[in-house]
Amino acid sequence: MRLDKPGQIDRTQPLSFTFDGREYSGFAGDTLASALIASNVRVVGRSFKYHRPRGVFTAGSEEPNALVTIGQGAAAEPNLRATTSELCEGLVARSQNRWPSLDYDLLALNDLFAPFLGAGFYYKTFMWPAKLWERLYEPFIRRAAGLGALSGAPNADHYEKAYAHCDLLVIGAGPAGLMAALAAGRAGLDVILADEDVRTGGRLNAERIEVDGRPGADWAETVTDELRGMGNVRIMTRTTVTGAYDGGTYGALERLSPEVAARTGAPRECFWRIATRRAILAAGALERPVAFRNNDRPGVMMAGALRAYVNRWAVSPGKTVTVFGNTDDAHRTAADLLAAGVHVAALIDARPEAGTDLPVRFYAGAQVVNAHGRGGLEAISIATLSGIDKVQTDCLAMSGGWNPTLHLTCHMNGRPDWSPALAAFVSRDGAVPGLLTAGACRGDFSTHGCLAGGLAAAKAVLKDLGKRARATDLPVAEDAPYRISPLWAVPGKGRAWLDFQNDVTVKDVKLAATENYSSVEHMKRYTTQGMAPDQGKNSNVNALAVLADATGRGIPETGTTTYRPPYVPVPIAALGAGAQGAGFAPQRFTTSHDLSVEMGAPMVEAGLWYRPGWFPREGEKTWRQSCDREVGMVREAVGVCDVSTLGKIDVQGPDAPAFLDLLYTNMFSTLKVGRARYGLMLREDGHVMDDGTTARLGAHHYLMTTTTAAAGQVMKHMEFVHQCLAPQMDVSFISVTEQWAQFAVAGPKSRDLLNGILDDPVDGDSFPFMACGAVSVMGVAGRLFRISFSGEHAYEVAVPARYGDSLFRLLVDRAGELGGGAYGMEALNVLRIEKGFITHAEIHGRTTAFDIGMERMVSAKKDCIGKAMAARPGLSGPDREQLVGLVPTGAVKKLTAGAHLFDAGAEAVRKNDQGYITSAAFSPTLGHFMALGFLKDGRARHGEEIRMVDHVRQIEARCRVVDPVFFDPEGGRARG
């Protein structure tokens, strides 16, 4: 119910929303949880295993019970915490883990079978017979398990990822964080202040605590205003720092406010990577429950959360409230309730020595032993020295003390220390380099302790970074001591919950200990305690205390499980923002892309590039018809193909010739200016890395080409060879792949076509085979290379990329007039297989120069990368699989890439494997299929009949081993 008192809500802005189809209303400033409490909704979900009704339990991101699905259709997002979900107009929320409805949940039957569903139930039950696992057990478990469900539709929402840099990251904007940010900001540091709440202030918003003689929230607002006015401080609310990583890098998830996220194209969440020189963790503390019988009844909640609901949101989950605790926080809770006009039926303090001046029924040294009321709390039983008292109540606030929020300090393998005085783990200094802790997260629980700790941490950072701190006064605030008498689990019958989200009770932990799962990591996995979305924020310390008790060890000896990032669940959509659909990888387009698409060419991916597969013409029904025509065009007339995607690297300097000699197996220092040469490049381990032609444009100027696929790898390799092996060489190089548009013009009529566009025509004398040089292409300074990847008389003509589109249009047009046209990747592939030219299908990383028949290209006159290791035994000789050609000879005429080769009479099993096919195509020139492949001792086996078996496609063919050059083996066509 809503209380008649002010709070941090705007009563002039009512908001309507639905929960499970029913309409409710709240106010701006509400969370879904506070609005549901205001509307007297007590049951908000069902528990994971037993399907017990559950109510709102906390007021923060640690919430174990109030997990809801928000949104509709594809945008529905499951497992959102109602306690951190901002209310907005028209919000649609649904409860989870129930069928058919929250009130009548069929799987609530599980609760009756609870005695059989204890720790290790799955391991013990779904064991035999094994064949039932796939058909019965797994489907059953999958249906029953899981909390919310995804919509199954593609997520249309936007997400972003972003980077930020600062001197100091302050994590948490409570009194400690605000004080640290203030001192650091005034001293001029670049500060990011991050807090997961929608506003700064932390617990000051939830408590009736005064700072400098005025309400704490007002003080927080004043400090925040000053910080906002500083150009060097950035306040990031709604931002949870989720992980600490090496080198001062932190991950953070920002949820945008519903109003911002609703704008067109605006992201819903943003995942930040924050690089900072120093960090101050001021994340506060999490209150822990007390385990007693039926402590999961709706209406039982954390005392600190109850104070937040009463003080901040002006709502009370009950009319008659009871409070149970083992610190002074129980008294503070009762006082706040009384101040808000809420009836307090009883205050129960587990400490025998405790006293109170509050006008309430008070029990000292007593414990709550049971909670009654199936659908919601109706009464509690209190064990006193004189017996059991039953008190009517609809809400019980409980407090078992506080656990410092030290998670981030453990993300780099740090282990916390046990503090007997606080009955809690505290972080060890230096656990994360560059990270200091301040306030409640280091065990300073008073407001004064937080303010002083924040200031001290900021001063330490300033000193460390060599900055002078400006005078900053420490505000006056309460400094109450923290007196706790540890209370983990109230003894007694029945089930007492530790992990509410995963339904793990005290009994389960004790059973695990009995069955010898006595290591805390084993207990966790056996009982599933701490494995739910809250990752044990509410239950870890209690569970290991119970385990310590059951195994007769102390808590420090028992230890904690490992804290790992992320601190809160992070949607994969935010982590991978931008990397789906067309944005998954960058796209590179050639200058001929537009015309190719206009001509109807299907564009195929080649690395990041897109290249045309073929150019269909009217009447052509299959790709093969287009491809065969394009091959014929090149062999008989002229074809045009964009080859700009090949890597082009401009190499210059006095040592350029020597550098290329070191890179390539063959000599480039002897290449004449105005000539190009094919080159082979090895890795240092002796295997082939790449190949391509390199043209010498001047005495100290080369232009080398790489294959499309290996361009980046070759560039990196060249940088390595130069910087790491031969830095004394005076050579420079740079990629010019994108600066030049380059087109292959191939076929008997290629020179006719070119001479129509070159300002000075070429002939066989001025431009013989493998010549290169500058040309003028209709007034544009370009380059011409007489090289051939098709085996025909061919050229590659290059112009600055801005002329690429018009040159390609012109070439295709003129080629058409000569009976030719554009050709695509398929025809290019057929043409090069007919000539036995290799690509990365053949030089796939395991082949040597010997394997591809190019061992004579490894110059004996000089050293080169890979030369020493290529001479290793085993990298040459008859045992190697060597490049061969294959043609079909049997009834089956098709050869396929990937198929394996066997001796004619041998069984097609691995031990008989003789090699494999790397490239295969139908040759319209030859009129049959042909293939390139690797065959053991293949060069000595030309003429032999062998057997090809494609186990995947179920194709088997007889074929003959032939020379890998199928067409024009003398090469007369290219030279002519």
Binding site: G247, T249, A275, E684, E719, F720, Q723, C724, L725, P727
Partner: protein, 90 residues
Amino acid sequence: MRIPCPICGSRDIREFDYMGHAQALDRPDPGAGAQAWDDYLHNRDNPAGPTRDLWFHGMGCGAWLVVERDTVSHEVTGATLARDVKGGAA
């Protein structure tokens, strides 16, 4: 993890490619023999503690760096241009 590139300053690890131990700088003579080449190419220590390895700033300035770091604490203690390391050794 961040690497202090001598040219670009402190940069995120994603801008770099890893190559392995900096002994890759010490390429043997062509005739040094099989053992020397095997050691150069394949044999690496697996230190728990300080090490030096090669990183390529491919998404940045294109420099090869010798990075000094600790495999236990993950602390990066320095980075030098590989060409300077080689120059100093020569």
